[in-house]
Amino acid sequence: MIAGLGMTRLGKVYGPSSAQFAADAVRLAAADAGLRLAEVDGLLTSSGVTGGISVDLQRDLGLTDLRLLSHLQAYGSTAGAMIQFASLAVMSGTASVVACVFADSPLRPERGASAIYGTRHAPAGWWGLLGASGVIGANPMYALAARRHMLRYGTTSEQLGHIAVAQRAWASMNPAAQLRDPITVADHQASRWIVEPFHLLDCCLVSNGGIAVIVTTAERAAGMAQPPVHVLGWAQSHRGRYLRRDPDFGLRSGAASAGPAAMAMAGILVTDVDVAELYDCYTFTVLLTLEDYGFCAKGEGGPFVASGVLRPGGKLRLNTGGGQLSGYYMWGMTPVSEAVIQVRGQGGARQAEAHEIALVSGNGGVLDHHCTLVLSSDREAS
């Protein structure tokens, strides 16, 4: 189960390195759980686009005699994968208290996000060829995926706009969110093109900061400080078709296999989900994941999200902290952190009334890596 959550200040926070954010996040998570840092006996680290985090974090934290230590990288699915591995470790007795951390510091006062996420490949070899061809960074790849869904199912940019609008409304109730001013679908449509069919408001933020969670057993957590967040189910799916012929590209992701598997492990149906925290690097990623998880039928994601179901007060509590679009971009730790907050009942003005079951997705690469988690306030799904 998840017994601790540590979040540094997130967003345009300049000064600390990624490793310093990571160390701070672990210290905060231990304190949140009511643990002394020295009680941590397992550490899983992960890093974002700027790297800078490794197993050396152990030394930064002064942790001695760890029983588990590794650095993981499966892009946006890493956070869920770390929690899965940590859960397996504590279940098997490999370790008893495992800290899982992500941090990144891509923002500099003097440069924009595109300078970081757009130009990390030297113009040589296969990567250089892709960039020389005009396909630079994630934006065009996801735009090509979204266009394919539009062509096949009639999905529209306005429908994607409803996702951005609903998440901004949720973000307005989250003090940690970077963007809190309400927007309309008209605002979404008027925002500049990034890569058609994506407007600016289809695309996630870039953030500095770090987030960590503490994973332990229910027995070990009995005396700790926070309400329990049990990890009832997990599954990964890594499709391995990036830059290859892929008839499912943009139409179906790893969520279609990992989601049902994780829910089966947890003993729940999609109709049991109280809160959905879905990876939202783009609005389109949310739409595709909703379909793949079975919240609506394949191809009906557009009309589904445009029906008002995602707005605060709507039928589905989705990305209740504003997600990566309006909240903060900590890769897979964005949906994980908000799910922990919601399951605990600590969401303040944005707290979902029913919060027994949270479904969490992580997505990495270009819809190539996926992890699903099912979190619950109860030890078994009721």
């Binding site: 005009g134 065009p140 093109w193 890569v195 830059l243």
Partner: protein
């Protein structure tokens, strides 16, 4: 519509020899399955005995996106149509579509591979044009 600079490395040397000669080279296995040029083993049957084989150059449009590069002062902004195209041999390819209006595109539209260089010092890059153009 311009391609960017790219230089060869060990893995891409033969491929760029091909583009310099006007060929898009694919990897082909003894069973005549085609794989994308970066493949180290056949994507159909997994064997590692691959040889280079030129694509015929025909392709069909799979998806497209449009970038609108920020214009420098005094210049017109450049709209670039980026596409996924299915080569007639099977593999998909990601590049630009030159000389087409984004409003006139449809899935399955016939395309043809051609090659562009930003300047003589850099490698030739495969791009697409409308078939028959």
């Amino acid at each position: 519509m311009t391609v960017g600079p790219v230089i060869r490395d060990e893995a891409t040397a033969e491929f760029f020899d091909g583009t310099a000669a006007g060929q898009l080279l694919l990897r082909c296995c003894p069973a005549a399955h085609y794989s994308e040029p970066a493949a180290a083993q056949c994507t159909t049957c997994g064997v590692t005995e691959l040889h280079w084989a030129p694509a015929a150059g025909g392709a069909a449009l799979v998806s497209w996106a449009v970038t609108d590069a920020k214009a420098a002062a005094g210049e017109q902004s450049k709209r670039t149509v980026l596409v996924i195209a299915e080569l007639d041999e099977g593999p998909w390819w990601w590049s630009q579509l030159d000389g087409a209006d984004a409003d006139d595109l449809a899935v399955g539209l016939r395309l043809r591979v051609t090659f562009r260089r930003p300047s003589d010092e850099y490698e030739a890059v495969p791009v697409f044009v409308l078939a028959g153009s």
